[in-house]
Amino acid sequence: MKNTSETNSYIIGFSLALLLTLTAYFTVVNNFLDGGILVAAIMLLAFLQLFVQASFFLHLWQEKNPRWNLLVFLSTFSIIVLVVIGSLWIMNNLDYRHDNTHEGVQKILEKEGFSR
């Protein structure tokens, strides 16, 4: 009984993961979206897939109290967000400020409200 339901869980997870992968793939190949929206959509699909695999393959939510595994996972997740988003924020900011081409300097001067 328990075993068949677990098998089902794997089958559902596998189908959902397939679906999400193919959706992401065809969105890109057929140029359904572009620019920032495309990036956002793909990231959304990736996180959905993370959720699907964590639920159906890793059974992350079924743990009994105290849910250390879940807690560890969530704190890792926040560290990862911090590492990636933090780095991007800081490095893009630095890139922008270190742009010493003529147009770059003009852009910075304008944006920061300096005038010559």
Partner: protein
């Protein structure tokens, strides 16, 4: 022949006075130790009782022993630097610029990675299992492996004295692009990379081990909110370890790929971005500071409660504060590079986050002061270290808040003001805490107290010496002296302040002398300070409920906890302890696998430094084979019989 040894040629062997000196003293020391052990016929004893042991109490003592040796090296480096800076005012000093930079790098690397971390892991190994009423860590073999990887790292960072090469001259964090192949073509940075990589792996393993131990192996009844504060701070510190040490590992791997395979992560050309290195390394580097300081907070909390004869004031606040500091410490890394040029929004965010940390930290200080209020204070050595810490740490913390303000940071960035600030935190915060912990728990480990009088002399020397040597550095920082400065003009008038600073170093050295004397005298007169009760300080937590030194199984019967300060409550209840029914205990067997794996890791590191790739392959094969053999070995436990335990426990004579 050339290919066989990669970059390691005869020219690379030691040929300067300091490396030759190092080589001779290290070889002589090693030979001396070997001869002594052979003479005393202690090899087998050393191997079976200590080196292959999986007992956390013994591993802890070994950690501390190695760390103390590294402390001597670090202090020696510091004195060489100080002396040079004084002499440089009237001339050239006695070190070349390059050598000066190497020594200052060595000082930083060794003090942080091999002294502070070693002492910390030592104390945690000894005390955490005892405080939570566990007999061992969750993974005894991994604990031994972690220790030996730390040793391998420590050997690799010193081995250039014997095999040649040099130390990195890049500062303790090997900031790119200076640490890239273009600007540091020598092997110094490679030594740095591999010794940190190997010891960092050990730290990571240790981190996982302690988290699982604390979460899963507490004695029945010890809920999270009944854990002693040292356990809480260890838990938080180890959470930081597993969160940020992977960042360090990966960053160093990337730097190594730049150097070894010609990649372009942090190079100045081909689209590489050296600023990314600074960003990543501080993402690890800042939390690392808290990895060191948080357990020290825990030690102080234990000590102040014990020696005030009171329960810690505001336990819940203290726990919340520790957790808050843990979370905040991951959000402030940019304050190490305010001056790299991010805009005001970014700098302001990280500046504010940094200042917020002062709030939970301050809350803790108030907790400790309130604990002392109306307490019966006993001014023992551990308590003195604690009081010295409160003064020093508050002082340094103020400087820290100043540095958190970006405009001020722009003025004093990379100056001696900064150097003075972080030494105040590292010495006055972490190191005093570790010393306090060592003098507090020494009788638990060895069964006799350390000599009080000499301990107090040592403390006063350290405290006075510390302020004498570092207050001038604050002033020099304001005067514009940059860090790692190897030469300056006499007309600046800095020499006098450097001289006072050196004087302070002398006083600290006197303090270290007293500490050594204290240990020697205490061992010689151990009969006088012997403690057989296992509870020499009238302690409050579970580690004092077992005998000193504790038996290999730590607790004959796992205690049941029904309140905070579990042992104190038991003592207050005053029930005569009825003789329990002893049962067999399964304990992990000794294992040498950790030693073998670390030895192979050392070979891998060394061969990669010198590009001796055939040796690298052999090293990897060695590791893999040892690991496989280990996993196929299911016979890793032995049994201590109930009668043996009963016989042992009868001797304590505590059962009514």
């Amino acid at each position: 022949m050339e290919d066989l040894f990669g970059k390691l040629t005869l020219q690379a062997l030691p040929h300067e006075w300091f490396t030759i000196g190092g080589a001779i003293s290290m070889t002589a020391g090693g030979l001396g130790a070997i001869l002594l052990l052979t003479y005393l016929k202690r090899w087998k004893w050393l191997w079976t009782e200590w080196l292959t042991s999986t007992d956390p109490k013994k591993i802890g003592v070994m950690y501390i022993t190695v760390a103390v040796f590294m402390l001597f090296r670090g202090v020696l480096d510091a004195v060489l630097l100080w002396l040079h800076q004084v002499l440089a005012g009237g001339g050239q000093g006695y070190l070349t610029a390059d050598h000066f930079q190497q020594i200052s790098t060595a000082h930083g690397v060794i003090m942080v990675f091999f002294v502070a971390m070693g002492l910390l892991f030592g104390l945690m190994n000894i005390i955490v299992p005892l405080q939570i009423g566990a007999r061992d860590l969750a993974f005894p073999f991994l604990n031994s492996l972690g220790f030996w990887l730390y040793v391998a790292g420590a050997i690799l960072i010193n081995i250039f004295f014997v095999f040649g090469g040099e130390f990195a001259a890049t500062g303790w964090l090997a900031i790119a692009p200076l640490s890239g192949l273009e600007f540091s073509p020598g092997v110094g940075v490679d030594y740095w990379i591999w010794s940190l990589q190997i010891s960092g792996l050990g730290t990571l393993i240790g981190g996982i081990n302690f988290i699982v131990t604390i979460l899963k192996m507490r004695a029945p009844g010890m809920t999270l909110m009944r854990m002693p504060l040292f356990v809480w701070t260890t838990l938080c510190s180890m959470i930081l370890v597993v969160s940020v040490f992977p960042i360090l590992t990966m960053t160093i791997i990337l730097l190594n790929l730049d150097r070894l395979l010609g990649m372009h992560f942090f190079t100045t050309g081909f689209g590489g971005n050296p600023m990314m290195y600074t960003n990543l390394i501080w993402m690890w580097g800042h939390p690392e500071v808290y990895i060191l300081i948080l357990p020290a907070f825990g030690i102080y909390s234990e000590i102040v409660a014990t020696f005030s004869g009171k329960r810690l004031f505001g336990y819940t606040t203290a726990v919340v504060a520790v957790v808050a500091v843990t979370l905040l410490s991951t959000l402030v890394w940019l304050h190490h590079f305010f001056t790299m040029g991010a805009d005001a929004n970014v700098n302001a965010f990280f500046g504010i986050m940094t200042m917020i940390i002062a709030i939970p930290t301050g809350a803790q200080i108030f907790n400790w002061i309130a604990t002392m209020y109306k307490g019966k204070i006993r001014l023992t050595t551990p308590m003195l270290w604690f009081l010295g810490f409160v003064a020093t740490f508050t002082f340094g913390g103020m400087a820290g808040v100043m540095l958190a303000i970006p405009p001020i940071d722009y003025q004093v960035h990379n100056s001696l003001f900064l150097v003075a600030h972080f030494h105040t935190m590292a010495i006055g915060g972490a190191l005093f805490g570790l010393f306090a912990g060592i003098s507090y728990w020494f009788p638990k480990v060895f069964g006799f107290k350390l000599n009080e009088k000499l301990g107090q002399y040592a403390f006063w020397c350290w405290l006075v010496g510390f302020f004498t040597s570092f207050v001038p550095l604050y002033i020099l920082g304001f005067m514009g002296v940059t860090r790692r400065l190897d030469t300056y003009d006499p007309s600046t008038g800095w020499q006098f302040l450097f001289l006072i600073s050196l004087l302070g170093a002398g006083i600290i050295a006197l303090g270290i002398g007293f500490q050594l004397l204290q240990i020697a005298v205490s061992i010689l007169k151990r009969k006088e300070n012997q403690n057989t009760t296992g509870d020499p300080w009238d302690g409050r937590t579970l580690e004092w409920s077992t005998s000193s030194p504790p038996p290999s199984y730590s607790f004959a019967v796992i205690p049941t906890v029904d309140d905070r300060d579990a042992f104190w409550t038991m003592k207050q209840a005053g029930k005569p302890i009825s003789k329990p029914i002893f049962v067999d205990i399964h304990a992990p067997k000794n294992t040498a696998s950790g030693i073998y794996i670390s030895a192979f890791a050392l070979i891998i590191g060394f061969s990669l430094v010198w590009h001796i790739f055939w040796l690298t392959v052999l090293g990897f094969l060695g590791v893999i084979i040892t690991v496989i053999v280990r996993t196929f070995n299911d016979d890793t436990e032995y049994t201590i019989s109930a009668s043996e335990i009963a016989k042992n426990e009868e001797k304590r004579g505590i059962y009514g």
